[in-house]
């Protein structure tokens, strides 16, 4: 079928923004739609996990601008992200069709794509997000976890320390950014064992210290395999851990029946069976 007639006109100077995900693994996860956004863009900004993936992206577009140089040790990441938004918006306002390409999914653990889209829309520009395969998606596949089975909570690890949060140890618990847990400054890219010990102390309120936890890192290059380590919770502070690694705590206790709710539901079932009208 000749699909050339479907191609949208490029004769527009109105700026626009698409934030797309590159997926996790080079060559494997880029969706046709994300690729199309990249190829149609006037300017591409890139925040990617791997320099080689960035080189691959450069094959897809002649004007790929890396956002990596804006990261600096000791500089608040909030400042960096705001600079990213400013760079993206400057090109949108200049009438360019802009594509922001982000590692994994552009909307997960990603402040700047959400902010840039919000700002572009507020200024009247067309802006939207295309999902990508995220680290979370790969985690489920590689570890054989179905989040629907027991339920699954996700937290940025520092949130467990900065805020009062409720953990449900009957489900899975997935902790992101454990490698820099407790960094309030947003200016570091790693925190040490003492910080992780504070996290373990918090987790020990809900889990036994010998509970087995999984340390996971997905593959970013197609010649890599996922990295999976299993350690006791109490050993978490003392193992080498990078910020790319994610910590998963499997359920530590069985699901408990909620007898009061079961009774209410049984009563409703009985009413339905008797053909009586069920009222809220």
């Amino acid at each position: 079928m000749d699909t050339s007639a479907l191609t949208h006109s490029n004769n527009t100077c109105r700026g626009s923004l698409a934030c797309v995900g590159m997926g996790m693994t080079l060559g494997s996860h880029l969706t046709p739609l994300a690729r199309s956004h990249i190829e149609r863009a006037d300017v591409v900004f890139a925040a990617l996990s791997d320099g080689i993936v960035e080189k691959w992206l450069q094959r897809l577009h002649p004007d790929v601008r890396s956002l990596q140089p804006y990261y600096q040790e000791g500089k608040s990441r909030l400042k960096t992200y705001r600079e990213w938004v400013a760079l993206i918006m400057a090109e949108v306002r200049a009438g360019k069709r802009v594509c922001g390409v982000f590692y994994g999914h552009p909307g997960i653990f990603a402040w700047s794509p959400h902010k840039a889209i919000e700002m572009a829309r507020a200024e009247g520009y067309e802006a939207h997000m295309e999902p990508g395969i995220s680290a979370e998606d790969c985690l489920y596949a590689d570890l054989g976890i179905d989040p629907g089975r027991f339920g699954c909570q996700h937290f940025e690890a520092s949130q467990l320390l900065f805020y009062e949060r409720r953990i449900d140890p009957a489900g899975y618990l997935v902790l992101w950014q454990v490698g820099l847990v407790g960094d309030w400054s947003l200016a570091r890219f790693q925190t040490g064992p003492a910080y992780r010990q504070v996290l373990v102390d918090r987790l020990s309120q809900d889990y036994p210290l010998d509970h087995e936890v999984i340390v996971y890192r997905g593959a970013t290059l197609p010649i890599e395999k996922p990295r999976v380590r299993r350690v006791a919770l109490c050993d978490l502070p003392n193992i080498p851990l990078t910020v790319e690694e994610t910590v998963v705590l499997p359920p530590a206790e069985p699901l408990r029946l909620n007898l009061a709710m079961r009774e209410r539901l049984d009563a409703l079932d009985a009413l339905e069976k008797a053909g009586k009208e069920v009222q809220a």
Partner: protein, 94 residues
């Protein structure tokens, strides 16, 4: 010699290669006359060996560290300004 990025893309897109053993993948790479760095990375299972071809390319991992660890957003009254381009080399120098 086949280009390493092209080979990586081909491996990533091919169901018979993506999860192939190092031995099987090594045979394919030999046929394709892959670079020494890529061949060594596959044989050893250590992708950092690619640095011999591309140099040290350790990116910060944005998805892991993009989100502020707290709920308060930056102050809106502080204007967003694009950094001076000369201060930060663009496009990518990698």
């Amino acid at each position: 010699m086949t280009d390493t990025i092209d080979l990586l893309e081909a491996i990533g897109q091919d169901a018979s290669l993506r999860h192939a053993s190092a031995e099987d993948l090594g045979k394919v790479l030999a046929q394709a006359q892959a670079s020494e760095a890529l061949t060594a990375a596959v044989a050893s299972g250590d992708s950092t060996r690619l640095s011999a071809e591309f140099g040290l390319m350790q990116n910060k991992t944005p998805e892991g560290i993009l989100s502020p660890a707290r709920e308060d957003e930056p102050e809106e009254e502080d204007p967003l300004e694009a950094p001076v381009p000369d201060a930060n080399p663009l496009p990518s120098q990698k």
